[in-house]
């Protein structure tokens, strides 16, 4: 067993010395993710963006926007009236807000005023989320104005702004420290999985599958050049060799997951070592499954070209039908097909963890299926394992 571990360690060093493998397995996804990050912009880490045309520019409008900006998970992006109309027209955004001219003045003089929400169709989840935040900000501003008005009446000297301001300020401070009524919200803030989560998880899984299955090439190359046969003249047994190659495959894929998951977390603006650790544990199970599939390919294929072809076709097929690029939450034959892909289970499990809606414990079914793939693949590959390239 010790020799298997040593073999695996050696394999990892070979992997790190192998530039083209590194380029494909790590550098390529790094570039891909960086491009996605640039394309999606810094807003990607927010749950919502308030797209607003502030045609008023008054102090009240500014205070409201400031409140929205300070809320968790929301960014404010400003437009002119035409830009906003154009963005909505192009469907670049689904919900926009317009603060009409004279808004602040109107409110301050006691006349009614409104903020206009423009949606495409029924809007989006993001739009509704942002609208909720904006309404909250408006309510806070409204109660402040109301308080000011009442205080003004009580003081009876609306012209004496300094005293009025002081009274309102104290009242608001008091309300903040000792609120007369509070709502205690016990739900935890949970990051909901987005379309982007699914895309990133899918791409991570696709690359892990690529590395696991393309590992078959290296094994066949070793069969061809004779290093495997040579190893059989050392003290290493065929069993130890097989286990060593399996461990090496897992190590390689987990190393790659570490980098790719780190990137995915950066793109999604996620923090939290606990979530990351759970993702890594899941990655080990995925690595075992994809490595076992790679070993089966190595056992079946006779040449490196056959192995590369099988690996690419299998990975692309499973990625497309397993929901890497499109969700598989339909019914019908596509959904049935998805169940025969490793990607579906791996991607779903990662998305669950990314969304923080689920922990590893909730992914029992997925883990069992991935584990079963690993065990079945390993058993098959183990039975067919050979060290020489031709009939013996």
């Amino acid at each position: 067993m010790g020799r298997s571990f040593h073999l695996a360690r050696f394999e990892l060093r070979r992997y790190l010395a192998h530039r083209s493998d590194l380029a494909f397995g790590i550098a390529l996804p790094v570039v891909l993710f960086s491009l996605m990050m640039v394309a999606l912009g810094p807003d990607a880490k927010f749950r919502g963006v308030m797209h607003v045309a502030d045609l008023d520019g008054g102090s009240l409008a500014s205070r409201i926007l400031e409140r929205v900006e300070n809320a968790d998970g929301v960014a404010v992006r400003r437009y002119t009236r035409d830009e906003l109309a154009d963005a909505l027209g192009r469907a670049a955004i689904s919900t926009g807000f317009v603060i009409p001219p004279g808004f602040s003045a109107s409110v301050e003089s006691g006349a009614p005023a409104s903020i206009v929400v423009k949606s495409r169709g029924s809007g989006s989840d993001e739009g509704r989320f942002v609208t909720g935040i904006v309404q909250g900000a408006l309510r806070a501003a409204a109660s402040e104005i109301e308080l000011r008005r009442v205080a003004g009446v009580l003081v009876g000297d609306p012209a004496n702004d300094a005293r009025l301001d002081e009274a309102v300020r104290q009242a608001l401070a008091g309300a903040r420290t000792r609120p007369p009524v509070v709502v205690v919200t016990e739900s935890m803030w949970v990051r909901e999985a987005s379309q982007l989560d699914r895309l990133l998880a899918g791409i991570v899984v696709m690359f892990l599958l690529f590395s696991g299955t393309l590992g078959a090439r290296a094994l066949i190359e070793e069969r061809r050049t004779g290093t495997l046969e040579r190893l059989m003249t050392t003290r290493l047994s065929a069993g130890e060799l097989f286990v060593g190659k399996f461990l090496a495959g897992i190590g390689r894929v987990v190393l790659q997951s570490f980098v790719l998951l780190g990137l995915a977390f950066a793109v999604l603006g996620m923090a939290g070592p606990v979530v990351f650790l759970q993702c890594l544990v899941l990655a080990i199970v995925v690595a075992a499954a994809v490595t076992a599939i790679g070993l089966v390919i190595a056992a079946v294929a006779r040449t490196e070209e056959q192995a590369a072809f099988s690996a690419v076709v299998l990975t692309m097929f499973m990625s497309v039908f397993g929901g890497t690029f499109l969700p598989t939450s339909g019914t019908g034959w596509l959904d049935v097909l998805a169940r025969f892909t490793l990607n579906k289970y791996a991607t779903d499990a990662f998305v669950g963890l990314f969304g923080e809606a689920a922990t590893l414990a909730d992914q029992g079914a997925e883990l069992v299926i991935l584990g079963a793939v690993a065990i079945l693949g390993l058993a098959t590959a183990g039975m067919m394992f050979r060290v020489s390239s031709s009939a013996v």
């Binding site: 070979r14 050049t225 290093t227």
Partner: protein, 248 residues
Amino acid sequence: METYLEAEGLTKYFDGVAAVEDVSFVIRRKEIFGLLGPNGAGKTTTIRMLSTVLAPDVGDVCVGGHSVIREGDEVRKRIGICPQELALYPELSAVDNLVFFGRMAGLSGREARARARTVLASVGLESRGNEVVKKYSGGMQRRVNIGIALMNRPELLFLDEPTVGIDPQSRNHIFETVLSLRAEGTTVLYTTHYMEEADRLCDRIGVMDRGRIVAVDTPTELKRQVGDPDQTTLEEVFLHLTGRSLRD
């Protein structure tokens, strides 16, 4: 002299065709035994059976008192094999290759590193051991290929065409290495297509043809079968024994 290896009736079929048939011979301790024969004669297949890689269909081999069939692990402790094709990791350095195979042969990390230094010196690569093997010349790669076989201080060394495609300098260095190994007590099985090489190095020679051993003797005695040993070359003996027809 004491027998170190004894092959008895070795036979191997590939797809129903015998690649090696009823091959029996002995190699004595501390001798350099040459195995000669045309392409496809069955030399490599024989070596693969002698070194436990390939199980014989018929027959057995006894190496240092142990059967390759029943005591493969005991045999593997005692042998080093330098395959006909380069079997190493070209993207790594010579040192890394040597240490890795040394560890797989049962050395500890420290032993393997120390042994790698000695082996590098004996194959004339001490100053370039940390460069990656794929940047080496053909001769240097061949020498690493041999070096790997020396890592476990084998009692019996198999060298399957170790001098293919290299310059006279590298070839000479390999000869010297082989001769000094014999002087240290190593038994060597050596195959080659260069007859003058075999003549110069080998104490005894076995000639194979079409899977069978057709003659085993010292170079001088083999020559005597054809004519005056001082006037005859080993090449003439070889062509006499194996004929002049081309092989597939």
